[in-house]
């Protein structure tokens, strides 16, 4: 038994604080890339803004309060709309509320950074600042603020279980977003599986890569943009810090830091599921993915991630009250 003590509620709040911050990081990246893409595209072929709503799964909610998926409407909805639970403002509010409830494990630096990021987005006057004609700077500022927050986590969060739950939440959220973006974009860009393997000289594919991570390391390693390289890079590459494989590996490691269970073994359902998922990714190939169908594969992976989340919840956040008492 470890000496450090972490309340289940505190673990859960740290986990969700981290997920919400990472969600904002993904959304801001997606929005910014999309805005740049729209500038590059000769004419609008498909409605790129509408497809963003599909990624976050908020299309129906959007349609309840907006008519048209125009750039301005979608930016407003995804950035400032407090009624949209996935908007940057809503996620920052939720992250901050979670941080506030666990101020005894969040360092003052982390708290102040998150607090000022929230205040910045909340107080921003999008009309006065010409935001809708050039959102780049503001989006960059949010991104920089989040990275600074992560910096504080790295350099001054005490290395104990609360930190492991932070990274557990962070990597599971990132894994979820990477698979979602790939799923939606891929479907829109390449409806026919036959085209897998042909060179794609397309701005939109580059935008897809940029919206998940940097494109330069991809080019260095894989050269031309091909569908199979993209799938490899985003799902299976162990060196890309945003690939599904990397995220699951990191989440698995965080879980094992908490229980001190060695790799390849398990003591609870969360560890069993995370080990299983990691093992599947260790041995998965692009060929198998295309044989099973990308969408079907991603669907299955997402289901497993949800089950992993539920297992973490049951084991750590909502423990059984009939356990032995630790005195």
């Amino acid at each position: 038994m470890k000496n450090s003590l972490l309340l289940s509620r505190v673990a859960e709040s740290v986990y969700w604080m981290s997920r919400y911050v990472e969600r904002v990081e993904n959304t801001v990246r997606l929005m910014n890339v999309n805005w740049h893409l729209m500038l590059d595209l000769p004419q609008v072929r498909s409605n790129e803004w509408e497809s963003l709503l599909l990624v976050s799964g908020d299309y129906d909610l959007f349609k309840e309060s907006y008519d048209e998926a125009s750039a301005k409407n979608v930016m407003q909805f995804m950035t400032f709309d407090a009624m949209n639970p996935n908007s940057m403002l809503a996620c920052l509010t939720a992250a901050r509320e979670n941080a506030r409830s666990v101020r005894d494990v969040v360092t003052p630096e982390m708290w102040e950074q998150l607090n000022s990021l929230y205040l910045m987005v909340k107080a921003y006057d999008s009309d006065a600042n010409g935001f809708y004609s050039n959102p780049h700077e503001f989006y960059q500022e949010i991104q920089a603020g989040i990275l600074q927050f992560y910096g504080f986590v790295q350099v001054n969060m005490y290395r104990e279980d609360s930190r492991s739950f932070f990274f557990l939440g962070n990597f599971l959220e990132r894994a979820d977003k990477t698979t979602r973006i790939l799923d939606v974009r891929y479907f829109l860009l390449l409806p026919s599986v036959k085209e897998v393997g042909t060179a794609l000289d397309d701005l939109q594919w580059a935008a897809l890569l940029r919206s998940v991570s940097s494109i330069e390391p991809f080019i260095k390693k894989y050269g031309a943009i091909k569908a199979r390289s993209i799938i490899t890079y985003l799902l299976l590459d162990t060196q890309n810090p945003r690939s599904l494989h990397f995220c699951i590996q990191s989440a698995d490691q965080a879980l094992r830091e908490v229980s001190e269970t060695p790799f390849g073994m398990y003591h609870n359902d969360a560890e069993r599921r995370s080990g299983q998922l990691l093992s599947e990714l260790n041995y998965l190939t692009v060929e198998e993915i295309t044989r099973r169908g990308l969408h079907e594969t991603l669907d299955e992976l997402q289901l497993k991630m949800n089950q992993l989340h539920n297992a973490i919840h049951d084991r750590y956040f909502n423990p059984d009250a009939s356990q032995e008492i630790w005195k």
Partner: protein
Amino acid sequence: MTHQNLNPMIQSYDPEAFFDELFEGPGKIRANFSEFGDKISQLSEGELSIRQKAADRALIRMGITFQVYEAEEKSEKVFPFDILPRIIGAGDWDFIDRGLRQRIKALNLFVQDVYGPKKIMKDGVVPDWVVYSSSGYMQPCEGLTPPLGIWCHISGSDIVRDGEGNFFVLEDNLRCPSGVSYVLANRQVMKRTFPEVFERMGVRPVSDYPKMLLQTLCAVSPPTDGPPSIAVLTPGIFNSAYFEHAFLAQQIGAELVEGRDLVVSGGYVCMKTTQGLKKVDVIYRRINADYLDPEAFKPDSVLGVAGLIDVFKQGKVAIANMPGSGVADDKVVYAYVPEMIRYYLDEEPLLQNVPTYLCSRDDEKSHVLENLDKLVVKEADGAGGYGMLIGPSSTKKEQELFRDRIMANPRGYIAQPTLSLSRAPVLMPDGHRIEGRHLDLRPFVLYGDEIKVMPGGLTRVAMKKGSLVVNSSQGGGSKDTWVLGGQEEGL
């Protein structure tokens, strides 16, 4: 020392007809605070306002906020802080200190008596109906005896001064008095922004409060092998004093828990942790006693822990303050505190009560009803400066409203003469003037193996001109409180 650099703000300050904590006359700082006067006089006019702004920024950065609720909107506010300290001389403090010890001792004996042998009631000193109609009386506490017989581990009595500078106790807070975190934060900010004024003044330290609190809580813990496991029980982040709960937990190394983090299992109160259940020995509760245990008290409470009181009865957990201690901070019971001191301690009370008219007594009720425009009327179980009528500044309509309320529920109201509360100078927002504002003092008293009084306490100031309401929920602010004549506190 001659006052050659005398700051014009100080020179032009007029205490008017009030008792002023710092000035004895226009432009004249009290002789026993002359050292402070010399130091402050040497600052230039602009300097004071620069330091005030630095202090404000420090408080915002530290996130020392409280929640307020207005029109269903909740928001966080910074507790306004005035840079000029409220100073208490060693002699005055010695008197307050002795008076508080006497008072808390008697109050604690009273609570123990009420839930036990009821001697004071049988002897006719405090009538039965006064006890049983107090909103803080809790029937399920009958027959309980807490460790060391202590019910009120942490208390804070509000003290005011009248026009002559006499001290009075305005009310006793024996449930979960808040504000001590501001005392500690104010002192920190003060030392950072005003080091050269603070230095060598012999201000008694407040920084060991967390250590004393921890000692007090450990003293009542059931026997344990190692150090007791302590939890601060908070209602959660939406409570106005949440910052204080988190702060105190951090300072004493306790876990900050909500009711949903606790469960009764195997005869113990336990915290739910990622490593399983962990036993709790002492609960410093910051939720109302009614909500502590849905099995013993309010059945619909979701903030507490079912079965807590049963565990307490088995001696397996201590609770501070004890549920039921609130019976003694009802404002009708308050009127009997001087009698309690005589009854239990056979001593004359040192700190006086403000004269109090009980509307439950017919003759006093008619006096109150005839003088609604002169008196302050309070709800017997009110708090936070709400539910009050301040006669001299009230409208006819408000007076009629209170007349109806008193007629309908005489037990629910008391009245006191409007005191001409003492004042102290406060720096105005423009930074160029100081003006007198009314204030009070909430000292904090700890009662475990012994009684410990924190030197000073929370000085609350009504920031609005002429206002007598100092509560933070109603625009009040605070000052650092200096008790002189002690060992110097390091910077």
